[in-house]
């Protein structure tokens, strides 16, 4: 099967008229969606091959988010990053080929008629960089892309697993809203530092993530962080987090 994109006109129509169409979303009105997307010019087929994956639908999102990052990244690893920034692709998947996943993952939002979250989960509400970590499907791919560790052949998703282990939605937006986390050496350095602390028994919470990026943000005012090797970034973050949260160095 080929990946389907929304046409630009369709995307703009769904966005502009969301207020008008939203009841169909709340009602999970497949008949309406099917009729709408069967209209001429709504979709166009890309030349990107794709097998629709089976999503994990565990009741606990802390379990399924990690599994689904792996599932979607594996099935769409061949996307170029330039393609993976496109709203028409992710909005298309959310409305057509992965609509059931949207129903599953936004169940509470649909029930509560949380229109703001439904909109930002299906479309790009903010700039591209921010939106791709908020969109309900795009963020799975992007977290996979940013945390995949090619050097760990046995378990390339070990950083992903740590990242997804709690607070997935907030972590995705907070962590990747910093520009320097675009640099994979810095990103991996931070995650590895936090994993060291977790392995010492510390429960890694949102404030640990915030402190790490806040600190590097300040350091980045005086230096070009991209010059750091992964280990150097790791050491800087580890040292800082230990200091701020009063965690002793462990003698090995």
């Amino acid at each position: 099967m080929k990946l389907k994109f929304l046409s630009e006109d369709t995307l703009q129509d769904l966005r502009a008229n969301f207020d008008f169409y939203k009841e169909h979303y709340y009602k999970k009105d497949d008949a309406w969606f099917d009729e709408y997307f069967s209209q001429e010019g709504r979709l166009f087929e890309s030349n990107i091959e794709f097998e629709r994956p089976e999503f994990n639908d565990d009741e606990n999102y802390m379990v399924s988010d990690f599994e689904n990052v792996k599932i979607i990244y594996e099935s769409l690893k061949h996307l170029t990053v330039s393609q993976a920034t496109q709203e028409r692709l992710w909005a298309g998947l959310a409305h057509i080929q992965m609509r059931d996943f949207v129903y599953y993952r936004l169940k509470n939002e649909f029930n509560k008629k949380n229109e703001k979250r439904i909109f930002s989960a299906l479309f790009y509400k903010y700039n591209v960089k921010r939106s791709i970590f908020i969109h309900i499907i795009a963020r799975l791919w992007w977290v996979g892309y940013m945390t995949y560790d090619e050097e760990n052949k046995e378990n390339p998703y070990w950083l992903t697993e740590f990242f997804c282990s709690a607070d997935f939605s907030a972590r995705s937006t907070i962590f990747f809203s910093s520009n320097f986390t675009s640099n994979s050496a810095v990103t991996k350095g931070i995650l590895k530092a936090l994993i060291i602390l977790r392995d010492e028994g510390i429960s890694i919470k949102r404030e640990h993530f915030i402190e790490s990026t806040k600190y590097l943000n300040i350091a980045g005012g005086a230096m070009v962080l991209d010059l750091l090797e992964e280990d150097e970034a790791k050491e800087m973050v580890e040292k800082r987090v230990r200091k701020v949260f009063g965690v002793e160095f462990v003698q090995v």
């Binding site: 046409s7 502009a16 990053v81 920034t85 005012g221």
Partner: protein, 281 residues
């Protein structure tokens, strides 16, 4: 990322007067070719002390490239003053920030420089690895989107921000047609180029630029022929059964030629404005 030029240590840059006499000047050119984006940096450094640090490999020239949309962020370093970064264009989209530097490659202790402003004399300075010794002029490059549905915006045109110019100008002396916009206009362009008024913006920015290009190729068509933009334009004209030579010999006016290449830009722009006004109502 923006480097604002304020640092807790002296930096050689045209933006401040931390150094007397010394200079660090940079030029950056970007060109797309066969699926790659080449970003070429040329540096000219006039400072004995920093030149020596580079020779000793304590400092390096660096080219920092960041594309916020695709989370692409890389640094390219060399002990040579010219650096070429070659990036597959599918790793990039939209706006790309490019910064040239000279960076400390190791910790540099007890740094002194007779060219430093008197304010800094007598205080040995320590640079940590990654600190900035010199900062060149930053540029932004915008890549046009290859849109499968609509007509591809010509891949031979790049719009760039220029800090000093006050009006739009067009540079045709490279493989790309470079449209240079003053800062304020450029920022507006970058924000709105893919908005609901993108066709209108095309008519405001690209159309007059192409008219300018077509006037200028009349004078110097032989020299221009080596450039990629000229070759691509030649092909576009051939596809439309109108040889480019008709522009050169005056059979086809520059204004007509530009509208032909952009495929009825006024019509598209006015339709867009009409739609825009209808939704506003």
């Amino acid at each position: 990322m923006k480097f604002n030029g304020s640092f807790p240590y002296p930096v050689l840059t045209s933006e401040n007067d931390n150094y007397k006499k010394s200079s660090f000047e940079t030029t950056i050119e970007a060109e797309k070719s066969f699926g790659q984006l080449y970003i070429n940096l040329k540096c000219s450094l006039q400072d004995k002390q920093i030149t020596e640090l580079i020779a000793e490999e304590k400092a390096k020239y660096a080219l920092h490239i960041e594309c916020p949309q695709t989370s692409f962020r890389q640094i390219y370093q060399s002990e040579q003053p010219n650096i070429t970064a070659k990036i597959p264009d599918n790793l990039l989209r939209g706006k790309i920030d490019v910064h040239p530097f000279i960076l400390a490659n190791v910790k540099i202790e007890d740094y002194t420089n007779p060219n430093l402003d008197d304010f800094y004399q007598g205080y040995p300075i320590t640079f940590e690895k990654g600190n900035i010794l010199a900062l060149g002029e930053a540029v932004e490059v915008v890549l046009f989107e290859e849109d499968e549905e609509s007509h591809n915006l010509p891949s031979i045109v790049t719009v760039r921000r220029v800090e000093k110019d006050k009006v739009m100008t067009v540079d045709i002396d490279s493989d790309q047609i470079i449209i240079k916009l003053p800062k304020v206009e450029y920022d507006q362009y970058a924000i709105n180029a893919s908005s609901r008024l993108k066709e209108t913006i095309l008519s405001v920015v690209i159309l007059p630029s192409l008219v300018d290009v077509f006037y200028r190729i009349k004078d110097n068509s032989e020299d221009n022929a080596e450039y990629k933009w000229y070759q691509v334009l030649t092909r576009i004209f051939e596809k439309n059964n109108r040889p480019l030579s008709q522009v050169i010999n005056g059979t086809l006016s520059p204004l007509e030629a530009a509208q032909m290449v952009l495929q009825q830009p006024l019509d598209k722009a006015f339709n867009e404005i009409k739609k825009f006004n209808e939704t506003e109502d």
